[in-house]
């Protein structure tokens, strides 16, 4: 990964430089017009967040049942990314809602559940920081249940009456509007690459912290 890091970072930076230009040039949507352009990063950030949630969930299971230290590094690193992407997703959704729904915030099923999901992972990070010895295992349980909540957030728009667009929007986008479909795929790919890169850097930090702990233990002996 060390050899790939720099080329991947350059590719990701190029993609993030090109994305706003492509988004600016994209056609307007017929009912929402300009504000719909928030969609390209809004959707992509939820994709990146979903990836981070999946990594946190799997890594938490591995840490809890196999005791792998490396899995724990991945769990805490990805939980942090869930919070960062979640904050952007909620913020961009609020701005979009201001225009599309006429309000900054709406307590509908999708928005409320997404907020709760971000709060679960914020709780994960707080348990890690302030929970004291053994908090890693408690946090891992939170990571597993946080990941288990994600499918309910995704399906919330189909199961409950909500003003948020349903999941069918994405299923029919490729057929109805290929230009927007390819652009959202491009943005999602950029976000996935960003997730991989930031996760690598964040895991590196956890590895260094672990090495420092070992050095302190060796110094005490």
């Amino acid at each position: 990964m060390k050899k790939l890091f720099v080329p991947l970072a350059v590719a990701t930076a190029a993609m993030f430089a090109a994305a706003p230009i492509a988004i600016a040039k994209a056609d307007y949507e017929s009912t929402m017009l300009l504000v719909q352009k928030i969609f390209y990063f809004h959707f992509a950030t939820w994709m990146a967040m979903t990836l981070a949630i999946a990594i946190c969930g799997v890594a938490s299971v591995v840490y809890l049942f196999a005791g792998s230290k490396i899995a724990d590094w991945y769990a805490v690193a990805s939980a942090e990314l869930v919070v960062v992407f979640g904050l952007f997703g909620l913020f961009s959704g609020s701005l979009w809602g201001r225009k599309a729904w006429g309000v900054w915030w709406q307590w509908d099923a999708r928005v409320t559940m997404a907020t709760m999901l971000v709060l679960v992972f914020l709780g994960y990070l707080m348990v890690r920081k302030y929970g004291g010895p053994g908090s890693e295992k408690l946090a891992a349980a939170m990571g597993i249940f946080g990941a288990a909540t994600a499918p309910f957030v995704y399906k919330s728009v189909d199961w409950w009456r909500t003003i948020h667009p349903q999941t069918t929007v994405m299923k029919t986008l490729g057929e109805k509007w290929p230009g927007a479909w390819y652009l959202v795929l491009f943005c999602s790919a950029a976000f996935v690459l960003l997730t991989v890169l930031v996760l690598t850097a964040r895991v590196h930090l956890e590895a260094m912290r672990s090495r420092l702990d070992d050095m302190y233990l060796a110094a005490e002996d």
Partner: protein, 74 residues
């Protein structure tokens, strides 16, 4: 009345659909909202990457200090 409502509802497209006619007028300016959204993402990512860089720097400094103390003891 029911027929009218059905006709109106049938005109609403399901999912996203591109503009096909002439230019349409914005009622609430969307430009600042779009710009704020993308600017917030940029600031958030720059801030988050800076916190990672700062934390790595702190651990490196602590490692060097510990190595230095260990070297002095020997």
């Amino acid at each position: 009345m029911t027929g009218f409502l059905v006709a109106v509802l049938q005109q609403i497209p399901e999912g996203f659909a591109p503009v096909t006619g002439g230019p349409q007028v914005e009622q609430i300016p969307a430009g600042p909202l779009v710009v704020a959204s993308y600017a917030f993402f940029l600031l958030l990512m720059v801030f988050y990457l800076w916190t990672i860089w700062r934390r790595i720097g702190k651990v490196e400094t602590e490692m060097r200090a510990l190595e230095h103390r260990q070297g002095e003891k020997r």
